[in-house]
Structures are given as structure tokens and as C-alpha cells.
Symmetry: none
Subunit: 212 residues, 4 copies
DNA sequence: GATGAATGAGAATTCATTCAT
DNA sequence: AATGAATGAATTCTCATTCAT
């Protein structure tokens, strides 16, 4: 006699496990409202299951939230789509595309994390998860890799510092996405960044500020 | 004629009011632990006063926290000291100094704010306080001003975009300070940024990445 | 499959739900001490359950109190027993019985309500409950109905005003029951009304005060 | 050197003592809002004095409230004005006037008391005050006295029961004034009693309900 | 395994009262 | 006597977690 199936799962296509169902629900809620005011009851109600099940699949609320954040970040990165390949098009265009991508990822992910900042242990567990997972999620690495590739192709100055540029660009994303945060709940609006600012940022990165 | 003095204040040097004492206590706690798990009882106990006094001096916990954050940010900015004047020394050195300053401010301030992200209304009140106070606290403006001044002096390219550079540099501070956050409580350690990274960032800003 | 049962309920006869148990406890406390100084902890302790359960079954303290008052009033009315039918016995005897009944109901109910007067919203909710429930609880209506019936039978003057008489008699109950109120907690003693006063009241209602 | 005078009293005409000033303020607040949600701070603020003075003139909040209620009741009775003298006009008119008076007094006084019902000890002290004071405030006595006088004049049946009638009429006032209570804060509106009901009540009292 | 009521430790806030000045 | 800040117990309500069924 196999164990009982949660009512909410019956007749579901693909027959996800309850664990996956809970994770997906938590991920959606974290994305929608941020992790701030989320209670286990909220999650259970939204998932259509009893409040207690959670503890049959996760050690506690913290583990569930950390995994939900992780999944959310991974999905956001996946949704970004393809990153321009070094050597194609112009470097300016590619950087513009990369920056737009990075802003999109941060817009999706940061509000959820901001709410989690109050739960240190959630973030700790999240970090552990990050370490364990294959990293395509690390934007900084993606940017640095791209720059190094272009460097090898001679389309970026040999003296350029890929790591520094990547740090700057990712930091810029924080800066652009976070300010609207105080107006929580997280704005669904995609952090309205004027295209000229993108152009300016890229131009700055390309040419620097030294007079010539 | 004057009413009673709080036991915790008697024999205190400088004769601070209890309001100031509470504010200072809250500021210290916010700096040490972040605003996240801070309770009014924590603050009162730490201040050595009764739990209820808080409400004789502040409308509620939110007001106290917002003011504590504000004071903390102002103090951090003050501690940073003087900002190099445009036209003196070299632009590279000045930017390096500015960046070090900005990192120091963010190191002091961000962890406290990260914890407050879960309390939207605290941040709202904080923003109001910011608007009301004389602003030297806005690092982005300070950076952009400096760059514009150097631009006028011809020591920065006429085509440079001060705003974009400022955004990048401030964003870079977030990026450099935040990652250690998951290991809350905030490390007192001042965000160990290798000097070469500073050099690299500045070099990037100065020269850009275009091959020449 | 079913969730846990409250410790306080195990081995209880009749297997009441905890909701009913809480309601019964609150009703008893309201009857004994009035709704005035009643705290949620009092109720929980008296019910032998954890402080928080209350909120699993009622929106808040107010809802519980309103329902407790309602149950108390309904029970008091039920305990009063049968009301004399018009046309039987003598009108004097019937009025005497009705008055005694009314006094009994008010004795049971008024002290509880007096304490609730300070909680407007409790009373509002109580009133809503009253509207929703089948009414035998409205003593004024019962009295007026009786008088109108007797009027139709010719045993009460055609010119009599049933509504006015009913108002007077119910008001008389207030007057007789309330004075002892200041000596709260409510005396369990049933408002010791001398039988001659009952006789006098009824005689007055029957004959009026006009000289003949 | 005479003791300090409260700031709020200086330049006040008649130079009332602070005790009287506090009492008057409390009385007004009790009349306006009922005794329910009244805090000592409210009273002190309204009186323009420090919160602590109260305890220099009254044992505690309860004593002040009891005295305020007492004063309020006495003033309400005084405001009622003259009561018709036995032997003048018609008995019907006089009873109508008395009833109207009684309703006015209850309208003014009951809401304040309803709020005090939650504070048993306030009412106890009030009762003690009542016992100690000359009673013109006792409406029941006024009504009974009037009826006995008319009885002696032969304008009311020798067999009538003045006490019973007085009880009924005062009770009627409760009944007429209290129902609107659930809509606290106390309605300033003077308990809108239709004149025909007054007529009906008086007619009932005069003629009784016996068919003739 | 799933259920969901029960648990109980806190959280923020109020307010009568005290008391040094 | 007046002041009014300090005191601290008490209040309602929330919510992560447990556990009998």
C-alpha cells in the first residue's frame, strides 16, 4: 500500500512530487511578494495542502525559503536566454545586451532577496546551495568570461581588467534596481532604466574618462 | 520642578537626554546586528531603561529605527572625512580616495539597511528624514559633482558621463560590500577589498576598455 | 488522519469541539464576572488550553465575547421556560408570571452586558448575531404579543397600549436588576424582588392610577 | 512662600482650585465620551496640567472618575429644572412633564455610566458618594413623592402604588435611552422618543389595562 | 505520508502610577 | 505643590513547529 497522495496533487499532470509542488509554490510567492512577510501558512494555503506537510519534506521554513530563492534565481538566469558570443557583432552591442540581461536578472531576483535579508540563516543556506550548484547563475563570471574572450580576440584592450569591469557592471545593476525598493511590495515593473543610461554606461566602460 | 531622570542616565557624562541615549543605543545595535531581529525590548534592555520609555520619545518602533538608521548613515559619512577637491593632486588618486571613502561608508551602512529591507515603513520614514536633512550623504551626487568639476577643468574628457560613472562606482560599492552579507551578523571587518581591485576599477574608469 | 485533540478535551463526555469548549468557558466567565476585565489569557487558562488556540476558532477576542454573550442570553431565555398562554388562568396571574420571568432573564443577562458596555464593537457584533438568530429572546415582543392576544379575547381593554406596557415592564426589569450592579462582580443572587412589589406593579398596570 | 499655582489656572476667573479644575475637566470628558476609554493622560492634557497632579488631589483615577460621574449626575438633575407641583394643572400633563424630565436626565447620564460599568470600583465609590450626598438626584423618589402628594389631594386613586409606578417610569427611561447605546460613542442626540409613546405610557399609567 | 488543530514563546504597544527635581 | 519622564506589568495577537489521528 503506497502512501497517501496529497489532495492538491491528484490528477496533476506530470505527477510532481509534493516536495516539488511546495517548492514551486514557495518560489512563486517569493517572486511575487518577496520573502519578507511570508508565513508557512501562506505557502501551505497557496499550495493547497496542510500546514504540517512542509515538515515532512524540509527541515524547516528556512530550508524551504532558501531553496525557493535558489530556484527563483536559477530560473531568472535561465530566462535571460542566450548571452552574445565573443567575436560576433560589435563589442559595444554585446556589452549593451549583457547589461540589459543583467538588469533583467537583478530586477527579477533582488526584491525577493531584499525581503530575505532579515533572515540571515535563510541566506546562509542559500549561499550553501549556490556553492553546490553548477554556476551559470553567476553573472559576474559570465561578464568577466566574455571580456576575457574578447581580450584574446584583440577586440578589448589587453590592459583592461575583466574582473573589475564585471564588478562594476553587476554593482551598477544593484544600484539601478534597488533604489525603488523602499516602495515595497516589490514593484513588478521592470526597473525602468533609460536606454541612454545604458549607452552612457557602456561608453564609459569602453572609453574611460581620460581626456584624449 | 524637573521630572525624574532615568536611572541609566544618572552620572552619565555629557548629560544626554534619554531620547538621545535611546537613539544612540538603537544606532549602535542597528550597526552591530542590523535592523532585522531587533526588538523594542532588546533596545530598552541594552539602554538600561524600562521597556515602555521608548514610547515617550518616539511614536513607535519604526520611528526609532528610521532615526537610528539615519544617524548611523550620517555618522558613517562624517567619519569618512574630507573628500578630495577637484583640481588638486591627480584625478587617479582622487578617484581612488573617493572610491575608498564610498566603500567605507557602504561597509558601515549597508548591513544595517539590509536588515531593514523587510520593514518597508522604516525605510519610508528614513527616506523622509533624508529629504529633510542637509545632504552630504548622497554619495552618488558627491561623485558626480567631483567628476563634473574635473571636466570643467579639462582633467576629465568632455565626453565623459559623470552620472553614469557615479552610478557605476556606487553600484560597485554595493557589490563589494553585500556579498559578505549572508554571513550576518555583519562582519565588523571592513569589507576586505584588495587595493589592486581599487586600482583596477579606477584604471577602468579612466581608460575604458577600448583597445588603442 | 485527524489532527490532534486538545489535552483539555480528552476524556471529556459528549466530545465537544474545542470551539464549543472555548465558547462554553467564555460564557461561564462572562456570566460569573461580566465581560469587563476578561482577558484572552483568563479564558484560555480557565479552558485549560494554550493562549493562542482562541485564534484558531475565532477572528479575535471580540468575536468570542460577542458569541459568548449571545449564548448566555439564549440560555437564560431558554431556562425561563414556558410563557403563559393568553386566555388561560387570569390576566393578573399571567402578567405576574411574565414579569417574574422577565426579571429572571434580566438578572442572568444584564450584569454580563454591563461589563460589555465599554466594548462597543463587542456589542455591535452581538447585535448582528441577534439579528441572525431566531428571536424568542426579545422580551418586549413577547410581552406585547401576549397583551395583544388578551386584547383580542377581550380580557384586556381595547384602548390599552401593548407596546407601551411592554416597554414599561421591561424597563422595570432593568431598574430592578441594575441597582445591585455597582456591587460587581455580579451577585449570583437573583435580584431579590419582594413579591408585593410584583403585585403592586401588576396592579398598577391593570388598573392604572386614575381615581374612580 | 505659597505653593506654586498650576500654569493652567493662572489668570482664571474665580480662581478655582486645581482640584475643582480637574474635576470639571473630568466631568466634561465623561459626559462627552463616556468613562470607557478615558486615560489619566487624556484628562490631564485636557485640563492643561501635568499627568501627575491628579495624584496630589485624588487617591487615584477611580476616585476622580467616581466624583466626576457624581457631579455629572447632579448637574444633569439640576438642569432638568423645576418639577410640576402636585395640585396644579392636570395629573396627565404633570406626569408627561415628569416623564420627559426623567428621559432627559437619563439621556444625559446613562451613556457616561455605561462606559463606567467596566470599572466596578468606580461605581462602588460612586454609590458611596450618592449615599453621602443630599438626594435630589433620585428620580424615583421625586416621582413617588409627586404621586403620593396627588394621592393626598385625591387626584390619584387611593389604591395606587406610588413606588411601583415610579419604578416603572424610571425603568422605562432606561429602556428608552439604553438601546441606542451599542452605537457608542454616546449619541449626543437626546434619545428621540416619539411624543405618542409618552402619551401612551402616561395613559397606561393613568388608566391601566383592565377592560371596563 | 498527510492532516490541521494545538502549542506557547514572543512581538509591539498602552497606561496607571511613582518620584526626583 | 506641580512637573512630566520613567517605570513595568499587562494586553492582544502572530506564527513556526509539533503530533495524535
Amino acid at each position: 500500500m503506497s502512501p497517501r497522495t496529497a489532495a492538491a496533487l491528484r490528477g496533476q499532470e506530470g505527477e510532481p512530487t509534493l516536495r516539488e509542488h511546495l517548492l514551486a509554490t514557495a518560489e512563486r510567492l517569493v517572486a511575487e511578494r518577496g520573502a519578507a512577510g511570508l508565513t508557512v501558512r501562506d505557502i501551505a494555503r497557496e499550495a493547497g495542502v496542510a500546514a504540517g506537510v512542509l515538515y515532512n519534506h524540509f527541515a524547516d521554513k528556512e530550508e524551504l525559503l532558501a531553496r525557493a530563492l535558489h530556484a527563483h534565481a536559477a530560473n531568472a538566469a535561465r530566462a535571460v536566454g542566450e548571452v552574445p558570443a565573443a567575436g560576433t557583432g560589435t563589442v559595444e552591442d554585446n556589452l549593451r545586451a549583457l547589461l540589459r540581461y543583467a538588469i533583467a536578472v537583478h530586477t527579477a531576483v533582488l526584491p525577493a532577496f531584499a525581503g530575505a535579508a532579515a533572515h540571515p540563516r535563510v541566506l546562509e543556506r542559500f549561499t550553501e546551495l549556490l556553492r553546490g550548484s553548477a554556476g551559470g547563475a553567476d553573472l559576474r563570471a559570465v561578464l568577466a568570461d566574455y571580456l576575457r574572450s574578447e581580450q584574446r580576440l584583440g577586440r578589448v584592450a589587453a590592459g583592461a581588467r575583466p574582473e573589475a569591469v564585471a564588478t562594476m557592471l553587476v554593482g551598477t545593476c544593484h544600484e539601478l534596481v534597488l533604489p525603488p525598493l523602499p516602495t515595497v511590495p516589490p514593484t513588478a515593473a521592470p526597473a525602468d532604466v533609460p536606454p541612454e543610461l545604458i549607452d552612457d554606461l557602456v561608453a564609459t566602460v569602453i572609453d574611460g574618462v581620460r581626456p584624449r
